[in-house]
């Protein structure tokens, strides 16, 4: 984990260009002055016109923003990707096996490999799921694995998003935009396609339809509605799959079956790709004050009359406290060593570890166990002394509410900044589909911290995105 000179994905330390970036480097050199700036302006116009926006909670002026898009793609070599995707497949298989076990016999707890308390007292554990048999035994069908790179061969998994990971529409639209903006660059490179995602998503959803569904299962995407930050993505995916985009009010349960209200009366629904959190899914089973969900939908699910994707309760497997046990989980269920590294994580409830953390907080990253989107976290090296002190107090007050990790020196990629090209830190979220088989889209979403030196890539914190290329041999 190089502390001072981050690994750059385009340039070697001696200034020579790394092989996967050769075509890009030549192309960059050929761009006329202001060429990138013009391209950038075109990209922004395209995105705004298409309405590819996200909402920033708490921002006062208009709630919709265009996520910044960087016109320089991020490139991953074929052999690098093979390694990554093997590690990802191993991980999602093990995590699904773990979920099945946790909601059935709980062998891993009986074997003492994970503390019982950590699971059973965890807010993300969903007792209502006990004993339920999901189609094909799959709980987490749609997964976004957050990965960072710190060296030529060094990748770390930051977190496994097993609830309702978002961002896949940006992966698809970034590619679309890039092909419009730089067709000549595509001609010089063999880039693995990502456009297959919606079709693969549909196949995955169909493959987990309940036994009673017909040959063409009816699929619905359940959205909280147009004011949700990811609404664009919900409508985009429904459109691309040819599925119905529903809000809670469009669905109802009758006789243990789920129907949607159509112009010609009720129509049975077989598979629901829900983009509503567990808590809001069904006011009869979960939060009674939810207006977004569908009363009775969980019972219909339990009865095997509809498939919910992802299953409720998957959060127990991507909980930040459970994260540290993933290598353990892989070994327990697959009998294999983990192919991808976990970031070393300090447990603040342990007295010795906590003392060390409090002393070294200026060098560390502190994350809230249940936080997301870059909220509730602190990056030691880029924070003030007052912020360090604030988080020390927070950790002392609630040690179980935080995990602490070393500050990883995220790799950098060339990025267009003010008509110049400069290195900026990036991460990677590949998207994985699990149904009748595991399908991983080559690449994923690259998020880039546009602020110089910043390690926080979240769009809610000023991050942008890049088209991500996996080269084919």
């Amino acid at each position: 984990m190089g502390e001072n000179t981050p690994f750059d994905e385009m340039y070697n330390a001696d200034g020579s260009v790394r092989e996967p970036y050769r075509a890009l480097s030549e192309w960059l050199a050929e761009q006329p002055e202001k060429g990138l700036a013009l391209m950038q302006a075109d990209a922004e116009a395209i995105f705004r016109k298409l309405g590819i926006t996200f909402a920033v909670y708490g921002s006062e002026e208009g709630t919709e923003k265009v996520i910044p898009f960087d016109v320089i793609p991020r490139i991953i070599a074929a052999n690098e990707w093979r390694k990554l995707s093997r590690g990802i497949e191993q991980r999602v298989k093990a995590l699904n096996a773990f979920l099945y076990d946790i909601y059935h016999r709980q062998e891993i707890l009986k074997a003492g490999r994970i503390p019982e308390k950590l699971i059973l007292n965890n807010a993300a554990f969903c007792p209502q799921m006990m004993g339920l048999e999901p189609a094909r035994g799959v709980y987490a069908h749609i997964i976004g694995v957050d990965i960072v790179r710190v060296g030529p061969d060094e990748f770390y998994v930051l977190e496994d998003n097993l609830r309702t990971p978002s961002g896949v529409s940006y992966m698809l639209e970034d590619r679309e935009a890039m092909m419009m903006l730089a067709p000549d660059l595509f001609q010089r490179s063999k880039v693995a396609p990502v456009e297959t995602y919606p079709e693969n998503l549909r196949r995955t959803l169909e493959s987990v339809a309940p036994a009673g569904a017909g040959r063409n299962p009816v699929i619905a995407v359940l959205t909280p509605g147009i004011y949700n930050s990811a609404y664009f993505e919900h409508s985009f995916l429904a459109d691309q799959m040819g599925a119905q985009l529903c809000e809670g009010q469009d669905l109802f349960v009758d006789g243990g079956k789920v129907y949607m209200r159509t112009t010609t009366g009720p129509e049975r629904v077989d598979v629901i790709y829900r983009r509503i959190d567990d808590d809001y899914l069904d006011p009869l089973t979960f939060r009674p004050d939810s207006m977004l969900g569908v009363p009775g939908i969980f019972d219909a699910y339990r009865a095997g009359n509809v498939t919910l994707v992802n299953a409720p309760g998957t959060g127990i497997a991507d909980d930040k406290a459970v994260y540290t046990y993933v290598p353990e989980i892989i070994e327990f269920y697959l009998g294999e060593k983990a192919l991808l590294n976990n970031v070393p994580t300090y447990n603040c409830t342990d007295v010795d570890q906590r003392a060390w953390v409090l002393e070294n907080i200026a060098e560390l990253v502190v994350k809230e166990v249940h936080g997301s989107g870059g909220y509730g976290m602190m990056v030691g090296p880029t924070s003030t002394k007052a912020q360090h002190e604030e988080f020390r107090k927070k950790i002392i007050a609630r040690p179980d509410n935080y995990i602490v990790q070393p500050t990883l020196s995220l790799s950098t990629c060339p990025t267009h900044i003010n008509n110049d090209v400069a290195p900026r830190h990036v991460d990677l979220r590949p998207y994985v589909l699990v149904g009748d088989e595991v399908r991983i889209t080559p690449g994923g979403l690259t998020r880039v911290a546009l602020k110089k030196g910043s390690l926080v890539v979240n769009s809610s914190q000023g991050g942008g995105t890049k088209d991500t290329w996996v080269l084919e041999d």
Partner: protein, 316 residues
């Protein structure tokens, strides 16, 4: 794929709001021109108020402004977010509806709607005065045409199309009826002047509000006569904003739904009732009965079509 009742509802109202924005712009243009041509003391304000009355917006206006002049009325009808019928509110509502049904409309339609909203929402009211106001009113009409063009050019002729078209023409019929009724309000206080110069000037503006001042000449080859103008806007089947034209258009689209879904609904009966008002009659009969009453009956019948349509196809 079957259509959600909510989707049908959103499509119907999407079109209605676009058409309404266009008609608000027309109405305001008429009010503005009327006020410019008024030579009497206080006449300008009177014209603007009667225009607001015809649009049933006079009370809402009075709650917000003491004086009706071009600035206050233009702000109220164009930009006021608290006025649900302002161009601003209509475009916002249309765009929200479009966003809810993005999967049911084409990319061209979405881009047209989204673009119109983005541009309009950037405009600052204080930058739009005098001659610039007329330019902006024209822009609103043109964006409405563009949206309709995208719709006609790109969307499948299925149930979604029928709901969009029905919404468009239910709204247009309502607006034409109200524009005609405006004449009633304008003339009411000074009915002695019927047929006079001012009267003709006002009829001209009514025609203009329906974008019909030039086509009138093509149809009647005659100077403006109240009888002809009312005939033009109510009974002429070749006039695309006339009540009978709109009613036929809505009927055709309801029939398309009946054909696609294989059954007639309560809205088809309500449609038949509405058609009875405008078919098999003539202007003499309508004037004998009273234009204002006739228009009221039409507006009520038109509303019943919307109500029954909403119930028939599970709007909620």
């Amino acid at each position: 794929m079957r259509m959600l009742g909510r989707t049908a509802q959103n499509l119907f109202w999407l079109s209605r709001y676009v058409e309404r924005a266009e008609n608000m712009a027309r109405l305001l243009e008429v009010g503005y021109r009327m006020s410019l041509t008024s030579r009497r003391e206080g006449g300008a304000s009177e014209h603007l108020v009667s225009m607001l009355k015809a649009a049933e917006m006079d009370e809402a206006f009075a709650e917000r402004h003491e004086v009706a002049d071009v600035d206050t009325v233009a702000y109220f009808m164009m930009f006021d977010p608290t006025n649900p019928s302002s161009v601003y509110s209509c475009l916002q509502a249309a765009r929200t509806n479009a966003r809810s049904v993005r999967t049911a409309i084409t990319t061209d339609m979405w881009e047209s709607m989204n673009g119109a909203w983005l541009e309009f929402s950037q405009i600052k009211p204080r930058d739009v005065r005098g001659a610039k106001l007329l330019g902006l009113l024209q822009w609103v009409r043109q964006r409405s045409h563009e949206f309709r063009g995208a719709l006609l050019g790109t969307i499948l002729r299925d149930d979604g199309f029928a709901f969009l078209q029905a919404g468009n023409f239910v709204e247009r019929a309502d607006n034409t009826a109200r524009i005609l009724d405006m004449k009633y309000y304008v003339l009411l206080p000074r009915s002695s002047l019927v047929g006079g110069e001012i009267d003709i000037q006002q009829w001209t503006l009514i025609l203009r509000a329906a974008s019909a001042h030039r086509s009138y000449g093509h149809v009647y080859h005659d100077r403006y006569k109240a009888h002809n103008i009312a005939d033009f806007l109510i009974l002429r089947t070749e006039m695309p904003r006339s009540l009978v034209y709109c009613a036929h258009f809505v009927r055709d689209n309801l029939n398309l739904l009946a054909k696609l879904y294989g059954r007639r609904e309560a809205c088809h009966d309500a449609m038949d009732d509405l058609l009875k008002l405008v078919e098999g009659t003539n202007m003499d009969q309508i004037f004998a009965r009273g234009l204002h009453d006739f228009l009221n009956d039409f507006i009520d019948g038109n509303n019943r079509v919307t109500d029954t349509l909403s119930a028939s196809y599970n709007f909620y």
